[in-house]
Symmetry: C2
Subunit: 334 residues, 2 copies
């Protein structure tokens, strides 16, 4: 049973997941994780038996579960950081607080084609991936034990991907993660003073100035943040206030898929197809934060190594200004 | 001029340091930084002209500055993230806040011997390194623009070291970094309720239980934290309350050097000499936090890759329990 623990000083929760020792790794060797590019891929059609039984799949024609003819497929992570069954078991241990590592850890296989990348896929197929995110969030929201559902993607070994076949992951948690909570608290304070969403205010100022805009359409903007942690960090946000990603509708995804695709292609063009991570920050599941928190995607190419200074201080050194990175991304010829 | 910027949502300050582009790196290639093990090492005796002029050095016999006969030598970082001269230039830009990247960025060369590592050095020489940290903090504290002085070490390419020759770094900042501030705020709250230091309470509980103790002597303990972000994460703390590292005295360093050495050697033994980072968290320079904040060293072997989930959520997945890691570290035969 994995363990969820709260650091009593900063309030940071962590998963102690000793069960993951079954996963192939070797601390002593300190090899970066390499993607598998040979032989059997468990995410390829025809290999469905190599993953846990599917949770959901989109198929052009009706077929039985775990059959090969899917376009997007969602399966439980084979080495989950959290487990679905059980109760939370909240308890104190002297000064400390703990609870059981209850939650969900799923894999969204974004394409049946092994060599596809999100950036290269037709936007219609990218829309399906967004629908899969939405459908999974809506389903998991019904579980009252869960407080937060985080969707993220590791692309490339340097960004932490252990399998090459394009996929995202979903982790559903019984606590709201620190980073999101910090953002929410900042937004809450701003809203208390001004009755406005802070991301809306940021977007208004940035769209007026334009120097940190990477791409834009009727519904969404891709910007580089004023104070980015990482070079070429990008945020994709709805232009109109929206607290919950999963409340997006068809016409939204028709605009979100193209801007996500464009952002990835601009990044690939400028940075020669880097490894990258993205993460979807949406409002917590059962909290009323939708008025003042604004969902967004944070997209970060993996270019620099986070060393002692950054993790030790939460104070990042970024060698590229966001105005400079926005300009080169914006001016890239696609 | 580097730029210091505050993210208006979470309050995180970052340095936008475009001057560092002069440093050899190539975003497109995404090569991990490799240590230099051949030819000319700028940190070796005889090569003093390859570094900026020294700030301070310990020499067994009096000699002129930048001569070779030193045991510990402190020089400005050749590619500093901050610059010493100038005023803070605090200003608002609409929603945003910025100031100039004023501060110091120094390198503490810990040994004249290229192949030495902190773990292998006699503890008397490790004491000298601690004295150098103390002397530099005391000197920089006199600069009223500075709010925080952070000392950290990147050991090995995987942990972000760009030079092989053993060294630590010092960054002096005009703001208190987020991670330290979060710790201080947690401690402040605890103190308001209980009039006790939270780290003291933690130490008391952990020393009584013993299961997370790695090493211990009359003045210091090395523990694995209850909720570690990383496998084999260790904290070294004074057993008696102390807010400011730089107020340590001779008898303290005579106990701190051996426990730091022992912790590193236990780590090297269990994990086969991994790359690692450590960071010294002490009280801010001019704030009265010494009653409730407790200085400590955070030591983290670089074993896992921090991927999308961790940076996107501030919610770490750690595959080893701190009780398990403390036990193997404690039981290692040195």
């Amino acid at each position: 049973m994995p363990d969820l623990r709260r650091d009593p000083i900063v309030g940071r929760w962590v998963i102690i997941s000793t069960d993951r020792n079954g996963r192939p790794h070797d601390f002593a060797q300190m090899q970066p994780v390499r993607p598998i590019s040979t032989g059997l891929c468990p995410f390829c059609p025809g290999q469905e038996r190599l993953t846990p039984k599917e949770i959901m799949a989109y198929r052009p024609e009706p077929a039985e579960a775990n059959a090969p003819n899917w376009s997007v497929r969602v399966v439980p992570n084979k080495f989950p950081a959290l487990q679905v069954e059980g109760d939370l078991g909240r308890e104190g241990m002297g000064l400390y607080d703990r609870m059981n590592g209850i939650g969900a850890h799923e894999v969204i296989i974004e394409t049946p084609v092994h060599k596809d990348s999100l950036a290269d896929m037709p936007t219609k197929r990218l829309e399906d991936v967004l629908w899969a995110y939405r459908d999974r969030i809506i389903d998991l929201k019904r579980d009252v034990r869960l407080r937060y559902i985080l969707i993220f993607k590791n692309h490339g070994a340097a960004a932490g991907a252990t399998l090459e076949h394009s996929h995202s992951q979903l982790i559903a948690l019984p606590v709201v993660p620190t980073s999101v909570m910090n953002e929410i608290e900042g937004c809450r304070l701003h809203y208390q003073h001004k009755e406005r969403c802070m991301y809306c205010d940021i977007l208004k100022q940035d769209l007026a100035h334009g120097e940190r805009i990477v791409a834009e359409n009727a519904e969404y903007a891709c910007v580089t943040p004023f104070a980015p942690r990482f070079p070429f960090e990008m945020w994709i946000l709805p232009k109109r206030h929206a607290g919950h990603f999963e409340e997006s509708e068809k016409q939204h995804f028709e605009f979100l898929a193209p801007i996500l695709s464009e952002s990835l292609r601009r990044m690939d063009r400028v940075l020669s197809k880097p490894a990258y991570n993205f993460v979807l920050h949406s409002s917590p599941v059962h909290e009323k934060t939708g008025d003042f928190y604004h969902w967004h995607i944070e997209l970060i190419p993996k270019l620099t190594q986070v060393a002692g200074f950054e993790w030790g201080s939460g104070f990042y050194i970024n060698p590229v200004s966001p105005e400079e990175s926005a300009r080169s991304l914006r001016e890239a010829v696609l």
